[in-house]
């Protein structure tokens, strides 16, 4: 008996230290220059401290020195996968401040472009989600379909990623004559391809095992950390700006805000796939009914906002994106603040991943769909 006691006591003295691992700034799964200071015990993650700022480009400060139409060009560079939505947020903010009513045609085209961007963004997210879990083939399936959307963008806006299509008061130019036909062709094709995504990844038993009941985020945590977008809706946080504060043509279309209360990795994954179906639905309702009219209202050469504070939020592919402008009546803003979804979502990572394995940390991080320039503005 005394021997056993001794063993227990001596085994108590074995010092099993937790150790720190720097995941990043250069790491394949952080998809950019994000640094996570991870406290590990063997394979188990105890604590994650994200360190941001490696590609901080001072966009908010730069905005103070430039005019409002120029700010739009900078917003492309933040969340480059939701470039059009970011543009739209600034454009809407300026329009609301000046109380300019844009033509219906603009609203329709903006909404269609929003949803196309959302589709492209979710496709890329799906690619890297598979890749983070080791299924490398998904990467090329997703990119294959995304290419068509980028081609449509290129034809209409002249750019594939940083589209710069919005200006205060409307759009930079009208849609390309082929636009409607190409979008319809793409949707027809993509509706056949989207079930392939499920066959390849969602229905895979290994994938289910890797994501089911992993990375739980409760509704309370989602709200208190400000987790928005599909990541927040996976925990039951109804936060779709398109529903709650509809802008552009969203009040006119029928679509569902996909919600689930399970709050695990698979739910967040599933919601994004569902959101792709909803996006297709929205585009289908709008694409044939684009009204005739001007593609922009005539604005003054130099746009000056009235004195005051203005806020506009939109739903990007990652969540709620907000633009907060303080104007002192000059041609450039006094102060600009962007509320980026990635920043808030990232810091909930510790809540979700603590207690899981390193491999799960990577899986959970990819369900958050982080874009690093969105975090480091």
């Amino acid at each position: 008996m005394s021997e056993l006691k001794e063993i227990i006591i001596s085994s108590d003295k074995i010092h099993t230290d937790q150790y720190l691992v720097n995941m990043g700034p250069q790491h394949p799964s952080t998809h950019g220059v994000l640094r996570l200071l991870v406290q590990l015990e063997g394979e188990i993650v105890h604590h994650i401290q994200p360190h941001v700022g490696y590609i901080h480009s001072g966009i908010e400060k730069m905005c103070e020195a430039i005019s409002y139409p120029q700010i739009i060009h900078l917003t492309d560079r933040m969340d480059y996968l939701s470039a059009h939505m970011n543009n739209e947020a600034v454009a809407l903010c300026v329009e609301n401040a000046l109380q300019v009513e844009v033509p219906d045609r603009v609203k329709y085209i903006r909404t269609i472009m929003d949803e196309l961007s959302r589709l492209a963004s979710h496709q890329l997210w799906w690619c890297v989600m598979g890749m983070d879990l080791g299924a490398l083939t998904t990467f090329f399936y997703g990119l294959r379909d995304r290419e068509h959307i980028l081609d449509i963008f290129e034809e209409t806006c002249g750019a594939r990623l940083t589209v710069n299509y919005n200006v205060p008061g409307g759009l930079m130019f009208d849609i390309h004559p082929n636009f409607q036909k190409r979008v319809k062709d793409f949707l027809k094709e993509f509706k056949k391809k989207l079930p392939e995504y499920d066959q390849l990844l969602s229905d895979n038993v290994i994938f289910r095992e890797r994501t089911n009941n992993i990375g739980y985020l409760s509704l309370e945590d989602a709200i208190s950390w400000g987790v928005t977008g599909p990541s927040g809706r996976g925990s039951g946080f109804s936060c779709d700006v398109r529903k709650h504060e509809p802008y552009s043509a969203y009040p006119l279309v029928q679509f569902q805000e996909k919600l689930d209360t399970k709050g695990d990795s698979f739910t967040r994954y599933k919601l994004r796939i569902d959101e792709m179906w909803e996006s297709i639905r929205i585009i289908e309702q709008l694409i044939d009914n684009i009204p005739e009219g001007d593609y922009a209202v005539k604005m003054k050469g130099v746009i000056k906002l009235p004195e005051g504070e203005f806020y506009q939020r939109v739903e990007t592919a990652r969540g709620e994106f907000g633009v907060y402008i303080i104007s002192d009546g000059k041609k450039n803003p006094y102060r600009v603040k962007f509320r980026s979804p990635g920043f808030s979502n990232l810091f909930a990572l510790n809540k979700m991943a603590a207690g899981h394995k390193i491999a799960d940390l990577v899986a959970i991080m990819s369900t958050l769909d982080l874009v690093i320039p969105d975090i480091d503005r």
Binding site: L133, G134, L136, F140, N204, I206, E209, R210, A359, L361
Partner: protein, 362 residues
Amino acid sequence: MGFNIYDFTEMTHNMHLWFLERMSPAMTTVVEWTIIGVCYLLFIALFGLFLVYAERKVCAAFQQRLGPTRVGYWGLLQTIADFLKLLMKELIMPKSADKFLYNLAPFIVMIATFMAIAVLPFGKGLQTMDFDIGIFYVTAVSSIGVIGILIAGWSSNNKYSLIGAMRSGAQILSYELSVSLSLVTMIIFAGTMQLSGIVEGQRDAWFLFKGHIPALIAFVIFLIAGTAETNRGPFDLAEAESELTAGFHTEYSGIKFAFFFLAEYINMFIVAAMATTVFLGGWMPLHFGSLESFNHVMDFIPPLVWFFIKVCGVIFLIMWFKWTFPRLRVDQILTLEWKYLLPINLINILLMCLVVLTKFHL
């Protein structure tokens, strides 16, 4: 010295006599071993390059791309160009690495694969060592490789490498059980551990067809466990690049990295060759009991060709796994082995014993 493409026994025997006539027995041994060694080196280098090329083409096909097309016809010289590049690269060693072990690790991995390849029967009489305990030898020797991986992970003085190495250790030690037990099932059926004997036993029908359900189960388990043993496919935890950058070989560069790389592919070949030898009839042609003319046509194809067709088939299957499935987590990998494969395997051995005892297969 007749050259018979269907039976190499006579040829090798004559070669041996030819050497004996001209030099002392000791010298003969040295010369023969040198020739065999050079042959294996050439084979490993060339087949390794071919496998890398095949992997790139197969993966490209799965991913709806073309793969390498620029260097040589259909990109055939691409892998050679890649290896030349690796040869010319600077060898970087971490400052605080354990120098001796760090340099030793790639060689241990390579030596393990070299040793395992020595007993594989490529054709009739085309086998360097024909031990009585051939299968036992292969399983024993192929598990030396994990020591190399563990040393590599430890000596690099990198946390990612160490995690990768520990994962690999846990994984290979567990899956070694499944590989051995599924082979034991077939040993019970074949009644011998000698690889040439096992191949001879499949003259009329391959064990996969002859061995009823137990052989089929053993084959599936062998494929799963074999894939895990080579650190490939859904079991590539040790080098999971999205989690551990490159796992145990994070700190290796140039030709030392190439050694690990080549060893992985040759290990894949060994697993495929073992599956071929034990389940798919080795170099034996495909025979159906009563179809005489069909059997004659099949006999016309040389055994070496048969062997490589089967090996490439199995390798294609293993590549298919890799490019389709997501990676498992470390605890899931151990659960799969200890909770599913091992019990199934043990029951399967009992089943096989019953089949053999009741002479159900005859």
